[in-house]
Symmetry: C2
Subunit: 345 residues, 2 copies
DNA sequence: CGAGCGACGTTATACGTAACACTTCTCTCT
DNA sequence: AGAGAGAAGTGTTACGTATAACGTCGCTCG
């Protein structure tokens, strides 16, 4: 099949030249036919011959060669900080769907959680990429990407992020504002923040907004902030620390549903009932929020819409058009995990 | 920088030839130096000059060209059926860790859940791959891969899967056997199976083994099997169907913790207490199993070990050595969601 | 009747990298 | 002094694809 194929070798992958030889045409013709560029340049009969030859040989184009030749790949990279929260899985799915609709492929890169700056996704990836859609990552980790001149769209990052060609954000400040007012309105005054230890704009913004809202109520205070890795276990440990310290908070505001689930568990372990003795709230409104008992009060983040809008923005940038910064609305979803604080004993 | 750079153009990415020109050496020397193959072939001084030039230009090798030249990419594809179960995220992490230890990169491909055969990951992916590590997928979906002559290691698939160069499985039959004996031993006789609607060996095996074990106990029977997508919501709906049909099962054996969490919720909705009125058990022992109340009785699957062993097997195959089929042990973890059935009323 | 045109293909080349085969120069050993 | 070995590089080629530029027919039309 290949002139270089020695006996005993694994059969080398057929190339377009092999197909050409079998079909009795030139390699150029094979390329034209298989790329559907043959209208008016190759007779229908010949085109069919070529397709048959390709089928018989099991020909698959060498994507490395194609990428080299074309200088692009119609493939985007999606970077997420972790997969332990379903939120990112949904976001990815949204991005992948839009990409597929436009003939683009997507490669997913979960940056190892909490291990500081991510390793360079290019270091060992055979993927050549047209653009990057990145979520909630520390800027340093992405420096190497934007330096490579690769179009970058940031999700959940600061609205006017330099180095990003566009940004797509949920209105996270508004979300935290709604949540804070909800718990303050219920009468809570000693508030603890179970914060994600991921260093990104979205989490800094939540902390800032919570602090601000609490400060607006005279006798309320943020009695404690605990940082936790974005897992149930992490939320559990952090909430245990918060609930055993004095003064004990009456509500745990968590940066993610995963942390909130852990916090509920911590409360149970300490013999505290939710929400009568301690309230818990999270962010995301993923499946997990309604899987636990009581169901979580949470801020619904438009995960799928973020992925979709982000990919749209990236595709726009790749077409050379400017992409606007987008801010998506969020909504507070009050459920059973928050209630009025117990009367002081 | 590039001779083809026209004024007004975006600056073209520098090539190794640009670096060579700037350093005053040949392109071959640049390649030798940057790939660390210069010992005894290029003087240390010159090597440093080359590195400096590369740094100044912000040179990054064109991976498409490198792949084309080398015929390999040191990159593997990991295929998982869904990201809605944390199980696969952990498995991926294990595989990625081992790959990184061996200088390999990993690309993750989440095959859209439940949408039948997966779209061809190659169709639009710029990635050129050395091998594939695939989990729990329907065989047809992977046909196009193995046909491409790509080394394929299957996780959670039938032990002697043709077309797979190696397989790594948890001893899933043993796991279901232990779980079945556990609930039968507790006295349950009317058993329902909440099955994942993913069509793969591991789930077929669970169904088979459950059926077999139930058949060994004279008055026990598998009163119902409900199929569900691998989400909390899916488990909820399926469990509601199972619990409202007659005869009502006293235990719900679920194919995954995600389904079990949904099942617990269904029981609550129907006013049934877990485990006193209905028992629930799952598979996986992910974070979710202990996040819900009561904590789930489950079969601990070695997710991380599967990813690690699978990647080891793949790397072995890529070295041209034969890889043995591996079976990993599993363990029953009895917790609060299972108990003796209520006395017949 | 010959110029011109459309249909049908082919030839040649470039993409950026890695590595084989080769040259040149310097130094050592006998 | 001459052979030989090693150091320090360079010229060239190939990887497989896509496409611009170029033939070569047979036919129509002025």
């Amino acid at each position: 099949m290949n002139s270089s194929a020695r006996p005993g070798d694994v059969p080398a992958r057929p190339t377009s030249r092999d197909v050409a030889e079998r079909a009795g045409v030139s390699q150029a013709t094979v390329s034209l036919v298989l790329r559907e560029r043959w209208q008016g340049r190759v007779s229908p009969a010949r085109a069919e011959t070529v397709r048959a030859a390709a089928r018989e040989l099991g020909y698959r184009p060498n994507l490395a060669a194609r990428s080299l030749r074309l200088g692009r790949t119609r493939t985007a990279l999606v970077v997420v900080p972790a997969l332990s929260s379903e939120f990112f899985a949904v976001m990815y799915a949204g991005a992948a769907r839009v990409a597929a609709d436009h003939g683009f492929g997507v490669v997913l890169y979960p940056s190892p959680e909490g291990i500081g700056p991510a390793p360079d996704p290019f270091a060992h990836s055979g993927a050549t990429l047209d653009g990057v859609l990145a979520s909630s990552m520390a800027a340093p980790a992405l420096r190497s990407l934007s330096e490579g001149g690769l179009p970058l769209v940031m999700l959940d990052s600061e609205p006017r992020d330099p180095g990003a060609a566009a940004t797509v954000n949920p209105d996270i400040g508004d979300g935290m504002r709604q949540l804070a007012r909800h718990v303050l309105g219920l009468g809570h005054r000693r508030i603890a923040h179970i914060a994600a230890e991921v260093d990104s704009w979205t989490f800094r913004e939540r902390a800032r907004e919570l602090t601000r809202e609490v400060a607006r109520v005279p006798d309320a205070s943020l009695v404690r902030t605990e940082r936790a890795p974005l897992t149930v276990r992490g939320g559990l440990a952090a909430a245990e620390r918060a609930l055993t310290a004095l003064p004990r908070p009456t509500v745990l505001v968590c940066d993610d549903d995963v942390l909130a689930a852990g916090a509920c568990k911590a409360a149970r372990r300490l013999g505290l009932r939710v929400p009568t003795e301690v309230s818990v709230a999270g962010f995301g409104d993923t499946d997990l929020a309604t899987a636990v008992e009581p169901e979580l009060t949470t801020v619904r983040l438009p995960a799928a819409a973020m992925g979709e809008e982000g990919m749209h923005a990236l595709l726009t940038v790749l077409r050379g058009e400017p992409a606007p910064g987008t801010v998506l609305p969020v909504a507070l979803v009050p459920r059973g995990s928050t209630g009025p604080p117990a009367a002081e004993g």
